[in-house]
Subunit: 388 residues, 2 copies
């Protein structure tokens, strides 16, 4: 007998009520029944995005919404800052190039967060820059970006700030309206806790003004088409109906739990994971700017990350992620994002300890779990919302 | 108590085994388990598409795959024939315009099929035409296009033929390789019997040669990225995992039933529907080129199609479709596509008769069902495959 656990940074586990909602007979999208569901989903998305602006739902992976940002806001020949500190930061650059937009690349060492002053310097140097593309949580490195500070420095300029919050939304604080973030992009299979297939994008007034001027080609990803449809509680093309219905379930859960409680839960789980890793003698890959959604851990000499991931999956049923691109084999990534609780993290840390021991790296048994337990016990006491 | 039935041309009903597959705990897409599923799906898609070429799976609605055809095969300034005989034919024109491609529009009266000779004439007139965009089954009118003949006239020219088979694949015969169709586009929520959210596209060698030359921007819908990934049984971006898993279930059903039996089933159900409509004193909207996937029916004077659709849905739980665009209120559309059997059609015809009577149009009771029964009984006897 083996039980399977998903501790990867997307897809993340789907709660049973969302899974079961997808097993209900399919309904048509142009019915009062679906429109009522979609209306509620649109409202709850605004709550999660912390915005008064419409949140547009696209049937695509998160990358589709990133492309929508580039293709709807910019025109060939425009310039845009792309913050590159991992695989997903690089995607902004690739998207800009695909649309003839000149990327002003700010390279950041993998595992570090970008300095908002570096962005400010570029914006001051070139007033023609139209957008700043950045990433809330860089899934490939586990780094959290200081979006609030970047929004602050961008505000005074002609550029809009567009944030890839695919990994992160629902796990990390992101106050779209209060911080003045013009474009927030997300996906369904991370903090929002449903399977992949839906992507989301919200736009500020400043962003919609750029949409009016943009000359890039688009049709399926046209935000004007989507906006026109959403005003009638509709989508321009047949949406992924069953995913929208599942999303209502998880958004209702989020509304009930409350954003503060959700963010605090992620914070405590992330801290517990980090303390456990250090107690076990492992090094954090991004110690200076760790995200609350995923923790990247450098592996000791002689331990192959690919083999470790495979071993944990095949022997224990625990799915964690390995490293991507230049980090392949060198790090593992443990997600604590979405439908994840204390029990999942404790179990994962214990299994990691056993798997490492089996591969020849043996610290003192139980120290990881012990360190995590301490954080979890203290975290509960420290959290005024949860203990209320 | 009310039971709900979906007799609309997309979404169509989803078989329980596919619904239940979506309720299983989500798995990660970069695992041997998912790769094995995706490998099987790719193979079975080739079977259903009747091609030896790869069938690329995109996470989008069908329109995403139509856009992929335009954006990956053509460049701004190119010319392409767009056959316009309904709402979905018009979509090709809109897509061409969005990408700076000049559409050579062949307008066809709604309810009629295009004459392949009209396409041939345009191709002979202008050798620079790069593509012929057409529609297998025009969902808005219920018209079936003679794709075999159009492929035949296109073959001798530089242009590729690209077919929107979103409505139709799995319901109508379409021999991709044998007929020489360069591009076939489809979607998941019609003949393939799963919820919306996946789109498909197959390309011939001649089509891939155009992809090499195309200069239009694309990233999420890049077919070269998808092809590179599929060669490693992968997708370039996180796929809609649960839909892919559901698709394996329905494709296995289709393989087991066999394409000939499937097409024959649709043919008989369509014929039964048409004969029932005529027996009831209703007029077929597309009598000269009716599709086997959906039947459009003109409504008698004084019967509002919108009200009829609402009445059948609200009182009887039977969802049929109304008219789109210029046909709004004037026709109803009854689908017999995908997971639909004799019982569904008999019930729908009976309910339509009752609903029409309640709205003031009363033919002889039972004549529709009687006419359908005759076709169904005869159809069984006539069909050597099914009776074997």
């Amino acid at each position: 007998m083996k039980k399977n656990y998903l501790m990867t940074p997307g897809p993340t586990p789907v709660p049973p009520q969302a899974l079961l909602a997808m097993a209900e007979p399919i309904i048509h999208h142009r019915t009062p029944e679906f429109m009522e569901i979609f209306r509620e989903v649109c409202e709850l998305l605004k709550f999660v995005f912390q915005t008064q602006n419409d949140v547009i739902t696209l049937t695509s992976s998160g990358t589709g919404a990133m492309e929508a940002a580039v293709a709807n806001l910019l025109s060939p020949g425009d310039k845009a800052i792309c913050v590159q500190g991992g695989k997903f930061g690089e995607r902004w650059t690739e998207l800009c190039k695909a649309y003839g937009v000149t990327p002003v690349i700010i390279n950041v060492e993998w595992g570090k967060a970008v300095d908002p002053k570096a962005i400010e310097a570029e914006l001051k140097k070139d007033a023609s820059i139209q957008a700043v593309f950045t990433t809330l949580c860089e899934t490939s490195t586990g780094v959290l970006t200081d979006i609030k500070a970047i929004a602050q420095v961008t505000k005074a300029h002609n550029a809009v700030i567009a944030v890839d919050a695919i990994s992160g939304l629902g796990a990390e604080e992101i106050k779209t309206d209060e911080w003045g973030i013009d474009v927030v992009v997300s996906g369904s299979q991370k903090g929002l806790m449903i399977p992949p297939g839906l992507a989301f994008i919200s736009l500020s007034k400043k962003a919609w003004e750029k949409v009016e001027k943009s000359k890039s080609p688009r049709y399926y990803l046209s935000l004007k088409k989507a906006k026109k449809a959403i005003d009638a509680t509709d989508t321009p093309f047949t949406p992924a109906i069953s995913l929208v219905i599942a999303l209502r379930e998880t958004l209702r859960m989020m509304k009930k739990e409350g954003l503060d409680v959700i963010f605090n839960r992620h914070k405590i789980l992330a801290l517990a994971t980090r303390e456990a890793m250090e107690a076990m003698g492992l090094k954090l890959f991004a110690p200076t700017a760790p995200s609350n959604g995923v923790t990247a851990v450098s592996l000791p000499e002689g331990i192959d990350g690919e083999k470790l991931v495979k071993h944990m999956r095949d022997k224990y049923g625990v799915g964690i992620a390995g490293g991507q691109a230049e980090l392949k084999g060198k790090v593992i990534r443990i997600a604590h994002m979405g439908y994840i609780t204390d029990t999942d993290i404790l179990m994962t840390i214990a299994v990691l300890g056993m798997a490492l021991a089996e591969m020849g790296f043996r610290g003192e048994p139980g120290v990881g779990v012990e360190a995590a337990e301490e954080v979890l016990l203290e975290g509960r006491d420290r959290n005024p919302v949860e203990s209320a």
